[in-house]
Amino acid sequence: MTDTSTLTRLALQGGSIVILLGLWAMGAMVADSTLLPTPLEVFTGMAKEANQGELLHHLGVTLMRVGAAFFISFIIGTAIGITMGRSKLLNTVFDPWLVLFLNIPALVTIILAYVWFGLIEAAAIFAVSLNKIPNVAITMREGARTLDKDLMEMAASFRLDRKKTLTKVILPQLYPYMAASARSGLALIWKIVLVVELLGRSNGIGFQLHLYFQLFDVTMILAYAFAFIIVIQTIELMVLQPVERHVNRWRR
């Protein structure tokens, strides 16, 4: 992409965000109610809560849960996906399990985890991971099915050991699939984490949302929600996209 077209794109997208905020502000002014604050009120509330209140603390706690669930589901899901993609037999046998777990509502896993293990941190992380593992596994299975047979033969004929075959031949072919499941994973996981917090934790964004819901404080509900959206978008821009660019640097 050329520089001018990047600039055009940024201008268009920036303009589109401004229009959305404008519509929201107009709606808020027409409604003239504390139940629909203006964008300015929300962002002032966010800044105040960040400076004087507990926003950063809860943000940190939630981020840690998202991070833990993300890594657990990513590693286990990748292992399951590669194994099922490489073995026809295992894939046939365990495909119904995958379909089953994929269709269990997040709320059910969360409730069951809390009932069985108690309202503890491990139960919360477990419930979120369990929701995401099947998604990762399915994406990675697709990747493992498309592994290049020619390159695998090359690796075999040059007697590459298992470690080299995995890290230099197999995994690089899976990077695009990993990037896809990382992105969709982040988006899904943080939403489930909020539910987990609302139902059984005494801190984190989800807990705060619950608190402000009881107070009917829409300004703070939106302030917390937007704070976290900003954090997730920052991770996407500053971590996921640069990593993706790095692993794709060999492409033309």
Partner: protein
């Protein structure tokens, strides 16, 4: 008891190799194919497309172990260096890292082999930025870099334009003089066979067998146009018999 020089000989015996078709029918592909290759010798296996040449190479390389027979590589060198028909370089590794992956990390050895194939300026280049001819040379360098007991080459110069193919054949001739690897080269191009071979084996029939054998006395580097024309004529006579 091994006599002197026995360990310097590569002995390949394929008694029987079959393929099972999707319908369950078993088709014999190779039968009683025996190759004895001396150290430093260049043996070309000539056969038409689809006669089982690549199958033979895959058996030798250990990619397919479902056959009756034996493969003895002797005690020299490190296994098989395979130059595939397509380069099969890892696109996410630079040329240099592709070589490093299969062998030791000896910088000097890598530099000298890249120099030998004329890629001294392409150490840090990614394979998809190379032309097909260059990628083929990189694949040759990779196979040479492991100092193989046997270098096997599967029609490595097909689908190149004639100029590039001639240049690569000349390059290979130089490398054969310099490194003296033991080579099994597979082709369906008779000109290529007589240019490179010390000995040509003609694979024919179904299941394929070694039908004829032709040995050339003039060293590769001094074979002029007349010698090559004569060799090609002899090869054709054998083929049409």
């Amino acid at each position: 008891m091994l006599t002197a020089g026995e360990d310097r000989k590569i002995i390949i015996r394929i008694e029987n190799k079959t393929f099972t078709q999707p319908g369950g029918k078993t088709v014999p592909v190779l039968q009683n194919v025996e190759l004895n290759i001396l150290e430093g010798e260049v043996v070309v296996v000539f056969g038409s497309s689809g006669c089982g040449k690549t199958t033979l190479l895959n058996l030798i390389a250990g990619l397919d172990v479902d056959f009756q027979g034996s493969i003895e590589l002797g005690t020299q060198g490190n296994g098989i260096g395979y130059v595939f028909q397509e380069p099969r370089l890892l696109p996410w590794l630079t040329v240099e890292d592709n070589l490093r992956l299969v062998g030791e990390n000896n910088e000097e050895a890598i530099s000298s082999v890249l120099e030998a194939v004329g890629l001294a300026d392409s150490h840090q280049t990614y394979p998809n930025r190379l032309s097909l001819g260059m990628a083929r040379r990189a694949a040759l360098a990779r196979a040479l870099a492991i100092n193989p007991a046997l270098l096997i080459m599967d029609e490595p110069f097909v689908s190149l334009d004639e100029n590039t193919a001639v240049r690569l054949r000349n390059l290979l001739t130089e490398i054969l003089e310099l490194h003296k690897p033991t080579v099994l080269f597979v082709t369906h191009d008779l000109k290529e066979a007589v240019t490179l071979a010390d000995r040509v084996l003609f694979l024919k029939g179904s299941p394929a067998q070694v039908a004829e054998e032709l040995k050339f006395d003039t060293p590769r580097i001094v074979r002029g146009p007349e010698v090559l024309a004569d060799y090609e004529e002899r090869a054709r006579t054998l083929l049409n018999r």
